[in-house]
Amino acid sequence: MDLVALYLSIKLAVVSTIVLIIIAAPLSYSLVFHRIPGRSFVEALINLPIVLPPTVLGFYLLVVMGPKGGIGSAWEGVFGSPLLFTFTGIVIASIIYSLPFAVAPMKAAFARIEPRLVENAQVLGLSPVAIFFRVILPNSLAGLAASAILVFLHTIGEFGVILMVGGSIPGKTKVASIAIYEAVEALRYQDAWLMSITLVPVCFVFLLMVNRLTPEVRHGA
């Protein structure tokens, strides 16, 4: 069993989750509480990874993150090293890929907050930033946790985008899903079994947690 690949998957999931929560929370807050010009356009752009085949998204990321792409050349200019086929590269790719899974539960949690609470905070003298930290966040912790778990699981299961942007460099970009694929290709079924069976209970427990954190809507008996 490729323990390094498993470790890398978890490391990627943890880093992506932390960064995504930091990015998605203010983004979702703005989408729910502020008038944003071109809101539909922004929301469609955020949700694009849900409908695009991962290989298509991976291909475009490969182009823009490559040495001739906008992000890739800017990165090289600043840091002096390429972005493709690095751990940082797959973190950026998985952030873009998992963004809709972070935004959706947060938006739902923020939308459940009574708008008058926000208005009350405004008249009590709070700035939008203070409202976000003192009113919105404490009242949407369950939504934030659900969002974090979903992103974590989604990142653990990523394959196509990671393969396109990161390739399969052991210890750098070869995550568990790629290691499983390669084990199957090499007819090392026992390795594939072991790694797969390790991921199933972890994902199942995390999904149970998401269910517990998301308010249940049930119609009928």
Partner: protein, 252 residues
């Protein structure tokens, strides 16, 4: 020197067009039927809604002026706003709610004592009664020593007994606070009980006639039914209202 307001705003079915003033230490009740534009007025005053044309000044500060393109945001107006309901922060205790924007802790303790909610200071809002919640909301609004107090039908979701108790508390408080108080209500009895001045608003316009007609009609109906104005009045309350009608300084 108090609050001077001139508002014009096109609403769905009519144009809101009102002008009024409220001096420090006085309570102005904006009265009218549902959908008359009362809440829109108070929301514009708070800075939560923008009108088409406006001039709002508080003491020497201009809060909103279409002519000078001034719109001071709600958070910078220094007002106390008591909403109808659902505005206490559910994750905070009663004490922390009141202290949320307070300038000093001593005032928080005084208010909790004055409004008799000290014994529930550690409870969360969902564990206390509607009356206690509204008392807490009033304390929260007062804790930051506001320049103006806005009350948006704060008692309408409460039972008759609690409503009466709270009305008395606000009346007592009015004499201690030397700030303009604007109270929106559809309950004429409440307005007569609390207010120094009354602004009757119907379809976005000041309609003094409507209020007098309503009061006279209510009295007639009350007499026919052998009761006072509205259901459940007692004689004491009727007398009080008769007195209010006679001595009310102004119906704008």
């Amino acid at each position: 020197m108090g609050l001077d307001v001139r508002i014009k705003k096109r609403l769905k079915d009519f144009e809101l067009n009102v002008t009024f003033s409220c001096e420090e230490g006085r309570l102005l009740a904006i009265v009218g039927p549902s959908g008359a534009g009362k809440t829109t007025i108070i929301r514009i005053l708070a800075g939560l809604q923008k009108p088409d044309q406006v001039l709002i000044t508080c003491k020497e500060e201009i809060w909103a002026s279409t002519k000078d393109k001034i719109h001071v945001p709600a958070r910078k107006r220094g007002i106390g706003y008591v909403f109808q309901e659902f505005t206490l922060f559910p994750h905070l205790s009663v004490y922390k709610n009141v202290a949320f924007a307070a300038k000093d802790g001593e005032r928080v303790d005084d208010l909790l004592r004055l409004f008799d909610i000290r014994h529930i200071k550690d409870s969360k809002p969902d564990k206390i009664s509607g009356g206690e919640r509204q008392r807490c909301a009033i304390c929260q609004a007062l804790a930051r020593s506001p320049k103006v107090l806005l009350l948006d039908e704060p008692f309408s979701a409460l039972d008759a007994l609690t409503r009466r108790k709270l009305r008395e508390m606000v009346k007592a408080l009015k004499n201690e606070l030397h700030i303009p108080i604007i109270h929106v209500t559809h309950d004429i009895r409440e307005a007569l009980f609390l207010a120094d001045d009354i602004l009757p608003v119907v379809h976005g316009r000041v309609e003094g006639k409507w209020m007098l007609q309503f009061m006279l009609m209510s009295r007639e109906v009350g007499r026919c039914l052998g009761r006072g104005i509205g259901a459940g009045n007692n004689n004491e309350e009727e007398e009080e209202i008769e007195l209010s009608i006679a001595t009310k300084e102004s119906i704008l």
